[in-house]
């Protein structure tokens, strides 16, 4: 067994904590026992399937093209996830697909084009996964906030349109505010890293026995890439969505608010 691996016994032991959670739910009659058990079973099942697939994909003899195909699948699935979480956003799937596609291309281009890492499946898949996965939250928040800001401030937007301002100028203040909100969480995470929490990649490497300094360098590179990817995604989605919310003759379309 590799250093840092916990094995099936360790996994079973960790399930004791789930038993504690289920016990607490039953004791306080929260009614979450079945949900928690199903969530754990589903997570384990999904991870095992992904693990087996990854084992085949990151094999030293596996073709790199398969890894890139996996990345394309991630981008498409992230766009589906964004659409599912933002039904009020017109064209959410296309916007998220374009934004994630562009940001993933840019960030992975930097990582592998500048030889930060070797372009091997073992690096391509986890790095792309972290970038695409972290972008979903920023994309959803940016979409919802753009719609929320424009809906909440329709009077002011229309007052600006009525002065003869084109839609980009009429909406600029609100789109800026929405994007700031969407990016704040990732910026705060970047600022707090190491002080408040030890992020996943670094923790995983240290648990696996890597030198902490090496783990820090990897983590720093990952954080910078994630920040760049999330920012690119949010900006593309924010601007693309804003364009869709206005007609060609500079009218603000009716807006549906997110169901929270």
């Amino acid at each position: 067994m590799a250093e840092g691996a916990i094995g099936w016994g360790g996994l079973a032991a960790s399930l004791l904590l789930v038993v504690v959670a289920v016990g607490l739910s039953a004791w306080r009659r929260l009614g979450l026992e079945a949900t928690m058990l199903w969530a754990c079973a589903r997570a384990l099942g999904q991870l095992l399937v992904v693990g087996w697939a990854l084992a085949a994909l990151i094999d030293d003899d596996a073709p790199v093209a398969l890894a890139w195909a996996w990345v394309v699948g991630m981008v498409v699935f992230s766009a589906i996830t964004v659409r599912r979480r933002t039904p009020e956003v017109p064209g959410a799937f296309t916007l998220a697909l374009v934004a994630t596609g562009v940001s993933a291309t840019l960030s992975l281009g930097v990582v592998f084009g500048l030889d930060v890492y070797d372009a091997v499946p073992r690096a391509i898949i986890p790095i792309a996964g972290m970038m695409v996965g972290n972008s979903i939250g920023g994309t959803v928040t940016a979409s919802r906030r753009v719609i929320g800001e424009l809906a909440d401030n329709r009077d002011e937007v229309e007052a600006r349109l009525s002065l003869g301002l084109p839609w980009p100028e009429a909406s600029r203040r609100f789109v800026r505010s929405a994007l700031r909100t969407a990016l704040t969480s990732q910026i705060e995470s970047t600022k707090a890293v190491g002080l408040v929490f030890l992020p996943g990649a670094m923790t995983g490497m240290i648990l696996a026995g890597a030198d902490p300094v090496d783990a820090v360098l990897v983590q720093a590179a990952v954080m910078f890439l994630i920040l760049g990817c999330v920012a690119t995604n949010a900006v593309i989605v924010g601007l693309g969505l804003t364009r869709r919310l206005f007609t060609d003759d500079h009218r603000l379309r009716p807006l549906a608010r997110a169901q929270s």
Binding site: R160, S162, L163, G164, D249
Partner: protein, 212 residues
């Protein structure tokens, strides 16, 4: 004979699956103050929004001095046909910054003149727009629109959030602007107000329009 200021030709409009205007054919004359009168939800504000193309008809044609509004450059048209909304909409910053949004290259002299036309003292230029009273803020919004030198001012129940004194001041302002040659189209649900300010009136009732 000159064409009317606005002509609605068999205009219908559906919003969110609801027919807000139903085959409206009416004209707004090219002079003075015209009031669009009607109960809440009757469609009068929607009719007003058609005039500066914040809405477009589902069917039918809206004309501005004989020209189909759909054929006009919307941004230029909106500077010609200004709009003041039901609630004051001050933008962040000073009154000067608000007025400069309408015309970024305007000199202070131009801005002071716009304030004076809206019956506000020139000293207001440096006031914070959010600190103005309701009546002052609404008149500042009128001044902001006047900076674009509109030929028409659309006013969508502009006194609904104002006290009686501020209401009287805004009504007097509208009459003064009309006397200066600015056409006013004023939406109101208050018959007494309409009696005080209107030269012409159109009654909007459940999406249909008739001359009052």
């Amino acid at each position: 004979m000159n064409p009317p200021l606005f002509a609605f030709e068999h205009v219908s409009l559906e919003l969110g699956g609801r027919r807000v205007l139903d085959d409206v054919t009416a004209e707004i004359p090219d002079d003075g103050v015209t009031c669009l009168v009607g109960a809440s939800g009757s469609g009068k504000s929607t009719l007003l929004r058609l005039c500066n193309r914040l809405e477009v008809p589902t069917s039918g044609v809206v004309r501005f001095r004989g020209r189909d509004v759909a054929s006009l450059d919307p941004l230029r048209h909106r500077r010609q046909v200004g709009m003041v909304f039901q609630r004051p909409t001050p933008f962040p910053g000073s009154v000067r910054e608000n007025l400069l949004v309408a015309r970024p290259d305007a000199t202070d002299d131009v801005l002071r003149a716009a304030l004076e036309r809206a019956a506000l003292p020139a000293a207001f230029l440096d006031r914070v727009a959010d600190d103005l009273s309701g009546g002052e803020a609404q008149r500042m919004c009128v001044a902001r629109t006047l900076v674009t030198e509109p030929e028409v001012l659309l006013m969508d129940e502009p006194t609904s959030a104002l006290d009686p004194v501020a209401t009287a001041e805004l009504e007097a302002l509208a009459r003064q602007l009309a006397a200066d040659g600015v056409r006013i189209v004023w939406v109101s649900h208050d018959p007494e107000q309409v009696a005080r300010i209107a030269d012409h009136r159109l009654v909007v009732d459940a999406g249909r329009v008739r001359v009052g």
